[in-house]
Each structure stands twice: as C-alpha cells, then as structure tokens.
C-alpha cells in the first residue's frame, strides 16, 4: 500500500485554477520532491494533502484512509512544516514545542523526552527557554521544523523549509531530513532550490502553472531530456552581428538546439566535448568575440528549462 496517493487533484480560487489535475504516488520510506517556481501551486497541493484546504475535485488517500473524508485520522500520521513560520512568538521554543506536541496527543514524560530530542536535532537546546521572537530567522525556521517532528510522523511534509536560512543552517537541516528519511520516515519536500531536491529526493515531481509536468528519479528526468548538457558562450555585443551569427549557427545546428539571448549563446548537446572546438571556431569566424565558455552538466534546472523554456528562478 502506498503511503500517499493523489489523484486528479484540482483546486480553484474563484476563477483562478491554482492546481490543475495533479496525480502522483509516494511510497513508504520514499522521499519525494516537488520542484517548481514561485506560484506554481506547490503550497496549494500541500495544503490540500494536509487537509487545510478542501480540494475542488480529486482524491487523496493516505494508506487506506480517505484524507478528504476523514482528515483527522490522517493528520495523526502527518507532520507538517508550513512554508510560513507558524509559532507563538511570545512563547519560548520549549513552550511552543510543548504546545504543538500536545496538539499531537503527546503528554507527560514522553512529551518532555521528545522535546529534548528535537531540541538536540534542531540545535537549539541552549536557547530553549528564550522567546521565539528573539530568534533569528534561521532559528525560527528550525523550531518550525521541530514542531513537526515531535510526534515522529510517518509522513513528513515540508513546504520550502529552508527559505531565508544561511547555508550552514540549511545544510544542517538538509542533513537532518536526510537522516530522518534514512530512519524510515517518508518525506515530501517542496522547494524551488533544485540543489536541495537533487540532494534529498529519490523521486522528483516538477510543477509549473498548477500542473505536474514531469516526474521520476533524477536520472529518469535527465534522460527524458536526452541527457543534454548545456554549453554557455558569453559574447561581446559590440561585435555581434546577430543575423550573421544566427545564420551560421543554424548551419551548424540544424535541429535548432540553441538559443541566442543578448550576450549569451546556449546550446543543448549530449556530448559537448565533441563539438566544442568546432563550435567556438564557428562563432569566432563570424567576428564575434567570446568572453567565456561554460559547460553545464544536465541537472534539474536544465530539465525545467527544457520542459518550459524558462529558468526555474529569474
């Protein structure tokens, strides 16, 4: 039985369709990433899965529970890290954890033990007694995560948990999540940082304009775009005779697997090393001056770019 099955999930806010029929499955023990730009509809999907928003249509099942019909049953198994920090600012970290622990049916000794463990994990044992409002953004984020793992959920859903955190805290968080996953916790992780998703997630869904435009393992996704690397050529504009350059590029790449933008030529190619010298020569021959050459191995960014023609983040 799958941990989570989402079928034809759809959500409209008034006339605006934020999620347009999304289906995916997450198996037990898996870590599944939802990658997409701002406004893609990731949070809306998450909010439906956690039972916050009722979907306009579609089905969500957690194990054999219908989440839409009986959300309270499923919510016991789920830990949610909301995108926005959701804590009582005038309470201490420990008081916050205690409050949220009780909301998840923990109490007494086991609650206090759980709190101590979580404080250790999020590295805030020392600051446990301080009010959350005195914390830095990163520390608040960590408490925000801590509150979701107190009850050792089977499914941990994290909505961009690392926004606005310094790289060090971020790594710490990513490692923690990875460890929880390796200990058997199923993870759903949304982000618009492809590195995070690449590092954490075995399977990835790419979301754009409310749709799941691709999903699979990192390798599968790469292969889906033909495992193409990208060659970036930065050129000097003064010498640029755009027409001439386009013409000779078209001669060299008849399948039009290149793009010309201001100061940059970008080429998709499976084996960039093979064509690199010819390519450079060609560009130079048109009288264009090259200032830098860069080869990028295929990654999620290129998958996204390939699928949508846009960058993940501008």
């Amino acid at each position: 039985m799958s941990m989570l099955t989402v079928q034809d999930l759809q959500k409209s806010f008034g006339k605006f369709e934020a999620v347009k029929g999304v289906s995916f499955t997450v198996e037990k023990g898996e870590s599944f990433g939802l990658l997409g730009p701002n406004g893609a509809g990731k949070s809306t999907m998450i909010n439906m899965i956690t039972g916050l928003y009722p979907p306009t249509s579609g089905e969500i099942h957690m194990k054999d529970i219908d989440v839409i019909k009986s959300p309270k049953q499923a919510q016991k198994w789920i830990g949610v890290v909301p995108q926005e920090i959701a804590l009582y600012q005038s309470m201490s970290a420990r008081e916050n954890l205690r409050f949220w622990g009780r909301m998840y049916d923990l109490s007494g000794n086991s609650l206090e033990k759980s709190i101590d463990q979580v404080l250790e994990i999020i590295g805030l044992t020392e600051r446990a007694k301080d009010k959350v409002e005195t914390f830095s953004g990163g520390m608040k984020r960590r408490v925000n995560i801590g509150a979701a793992i107190l009850h050792k959920p089977e499914l941990l859903i994290m909505d961009e948990p690392t926004v606005g955190i310094d790289p060090q805290s971020r790594n710490h968080i990513l490692e923690t999540v990875k460890r929880l996953n390796s200990e058997g916790m199923t993870i759903i992780y949304t982000s618009h940082y492809m590195e995070e998703v690449e590092y954490l997630c075995e399977r990835i869904g790419i979301v754009d304009y409310g749709q799941l435009i691709a999903s699979g393992t990192l390798r599968e996704l790469r292969e889906s775009i033909g495992d193409h690397s990208r060659i970036f050529l930065t050129i000097e504009k003064d010498h640029l005779s755009e027409e001439k350059l386009t013409k000779s590029l078209l001669g060299f790449f008849p399948e039009k697997n290149f793009e010309l933008q201001d100061h940059q030529v970008m080429v998709f190619h499976k084996e960039p090393q093979l064509i690199l010298s010819d390519f450079i020569q060609l560009v130079t021959q048109t009288g264009t001056k090259i200032t830098s050459v860069n080869i990028v191995e295929p990654n999620l960014e290129s998958v996204f770019l390939h699928l949508t023609g846009r960058k993940l983040r501008d």
Partner: protein, 376 residues
C-alpha cells in the same frame, strides 16, 4: 480534553503577557470606577421616594410624620391612598406608609402601627422597614408611657423625641445600605462589562492574527478537532472574563465595601453575561478580516450599545423611545438583571426575562461568530 486545556492555557498565557489587554481589562475599569464611583458617592443622588398616607388628621399623626422625615435617606411625600398605590405599582415610589386614624386602638389589639404598601423587597426597602420598625417601637413605647396622662401628652412626647437626637442612632445603622449604593454598584458592573467587551473582543480578534501568523492553520492540520479548538478558545475567553470580573469585584469590595447581592444569583447571571460578551467578540472576529478592522468596529459598537444599554447612566433617565430601542442591545438586559440581583429585589419574572434575552443574544452571537471564523 488535554488539547482543550492546552489551548486554554496558551491563550491565557499570551493574554496575561500582553500589557495592553491587562490595562484594558483591569486598570481602566478600576480607574473609571474609582473616579466615577467617588463622584457618585459624594454627590447627592436622587433618593428613593416614600409616600405617606394619612388616614386621619390627628396631632399624633402630624408628629409621627415629622419623626419619619427625620430619616433623610428617603424622600417623603404625602399622597392620597389611591395615588400612593399607583406610585408604588409603577415603581415611582419605593413604598407607601399608611398612618392609622387611631394609634391607641392598634396598640390595644396588638397590630402593627404602620401599614406598608410595597411592590419589591429591595435593599432600599429593607433599610426603610428597619427604620419603620424602630419608629413604630418608639411610638408604641411613648403611647404606653403616656397612657395614664392626658391626651395631649402623647404627641408632646413624640415631638420631644423628634427634636432630641435619639433617632440618629438608627440613621447610622442603616447608612451602609443606602439607596444610591445600588446605583454605584451598577456603575461598577457597567464599567466592568464595557471593558470586558473591549478586552474580550480584542482577545478574540487575535484569531485573525493567528490566521495570518500561521498558527491557526497549523492547528487546523493537527489532529485537534474543530470542536476541541472551538471549545478551547471559547473557554479561554470565558475564563478571562471571569478573572476580570472577579478581580474588579474584589477590588471594588475593598475600596468601597460594595455588595453584589446574593452570589448564588450573581455568579450564574454574570457567567451568562460573560458568555454573551465572548459571543460578541467572536462575532466581530468572524465578520472582519484584520485585527485593525476588528478594533475599529468593536470600539464603535461597544461604546454606542453601552450608551443605549444603560451602562453609563440608569436607563430610566432616557426618553421612552430610547428605552424601547435599548431592548435591542444585550447590555440593557444585563444591567436590568444585575440591578435585580444587586438591589436584592430578585424579582423572578424580571430575572427570567433578562436571562432569556441574554441567552438569545449569546446564541445569535456565537452562531454568527462560528460561521464567520474560517476553519482553514
């Protein structure tokens, strides 16, 4: 159960940590009561009217009237029997004292000297009846003492008593229960209600902040049910209301040695009033979007309805039309009920009416409130 309690305790903690609400709930009403209470105590308030009905025009009765008028806590006015009865029935007069034509006959057949017409046995009336009993005893003693002398002796003795200081002792005895204390106590209760409305609608509007802050959403996706969450918030605000009222009552008690009537009546009635105020706060929180809107709307609503509802001044001083309109605000019923309880008259019919009206308002407010508050 644990979840409900957890929500209550975090609400109370947050509440008592915010200085603004503490000022609103405790300092302001205490200050207002102290200032206005002080003024009210010092100023000559209107005294309760007592009618005197003379059955015969004897010298003795003239002296007795003088004797009665020595108690200046009441306003004494001669009336015909029928007019006096009407006054009492319409509550224009506290009571009417009927002086018999022949006192001697009353004493002989061992009947009370004064007949008293009364509608409600309020605390004012208790003070009056104490005074009347004392006076009656004096009259009887004087009568018996002068039995063997000539007829003139009896009124002369009474006149002597009137001019002597004997009666002042009585006055001091009843000083504590003077009429205007009820009005002052009502003023305190009124201020408590108004600031409770401010305090609790402010507290309830933190739900809006919580929604923006995300803790509301987080609670919604926890296993806590809507019922548990609703009960948690409801009871938390109820507790806040009671804590405020209890503190104010105690403070006023210490400052002005005020009394609050029978607690057996006061506590359940106050509970309903508090619940109604909580409902009011939830309703405001349910119909607006931001805390700013909530505080603006509630300020306007609270002050205007409190004016209408006789919180700042007794409702019977406003025109008839206003009194009719005032029936549409809960404060009117709350104040009416508190008046019954604090004055000690405890008229069951009136109390029941007040309770029913308040219950209606409470249910209406809660209904609108919980429908408006989005559980998502």
């Amino acid at each position: 159960m644990l979840k409900i309690w957890t929500i209550i305790s975090i609400r109370l903690k947050e509440f008592f940590k915010s200085p603004g609400s503490l000022v609103l709930m405790f300092v302001m009403p205490a200050l207002f009561s102290w200032i206005f209470g002080g003024i009210a105590v010092n100023s000559e308030q209107s005294k309760p009217l007592v009618n005197i009905v003379l059955k015969g025009d004897s010298k003795v009765n003239t002296e007795i009237v003088k004797l009665l008028k020595k108690d200046d806590h009441f306003e004494w006015k001669m009336e015909s029997r029928s007019q006096a009865e009407k006054n009492v029935a319409e509550q224009d007069a506290l009571a009417a004292v009927v002086l018999p034509a022949d006192i001697g006959e009353r004493v002989r057949v061992k009947k009370p000297i004064f007949d008293v017409i009364v509608q409600r046995k309020s605390e004012d009336y208790l003070a009056l009846s104490g005074f009347l009993e004392g006076t009656a005893a004096l009259v009887v003693q004087s009568y018996q003492a002068t039995l063997q002398f000539e007829d003139e002796a009896f009124p002369q003795v009474l006149a002597a008593i009137t001019t002597s200081k004997g009666v002042t002792v009585e006055k001091q005895m009843i000083q504590k229960d003077t009429n205007n204390l009820v009005e002052i106590n009502l003023l305190f209760v009124g201020f408590a209600i108004m600031f409770m409305m401010f305090g609790l609608s402010g507290a309830a509007s933190t739900i809006l902040d919580e929604r923006i802050g995300g803790t509301w959403g987080r609670m919604m996706v926890s296993p806590a049910s809507k019922l548990q969450i609703s009960l948690g918030y409801l009871l938390a605000y109820f507790c806040m209301g009671w804590i405020q009222l209890a503190v104010l009552m105690t403070t006023m008690n210490l400052l002005f040695s005020t009394t609050w009537g029978k607690l057996l009546y006061f506590i359940p009635f106050a509970s309903l009033v508090i619940l109604c105020v909580v409902g009011f706060g939830l309703m405001i929180a349910g119909i607006v979007k931001t805390k700013q809107q909530a505080s603006a709307i509630s300020a306007v609503l609270i002050v205007s309805t409190c004016m209408l509802g006789g919180v700042y001044w007794p409702i019977d001083v406003v025109p008839e039309v206003m009194q009719k309109i005032a029936l549409a605000v809960p404060q009117t019923w709350a104040m009416a009920g508190f008046k019954e309880i604090i004055s000690g008259s405890l008229h069951t019919g009136t109390l029941m009416k007040d309770l029913a009206a308040l219950l209606g308002f409470t249910i209406l407010f809660m209904f609108v409130g919980f429908r408006g508050i989005k559980f998502e």
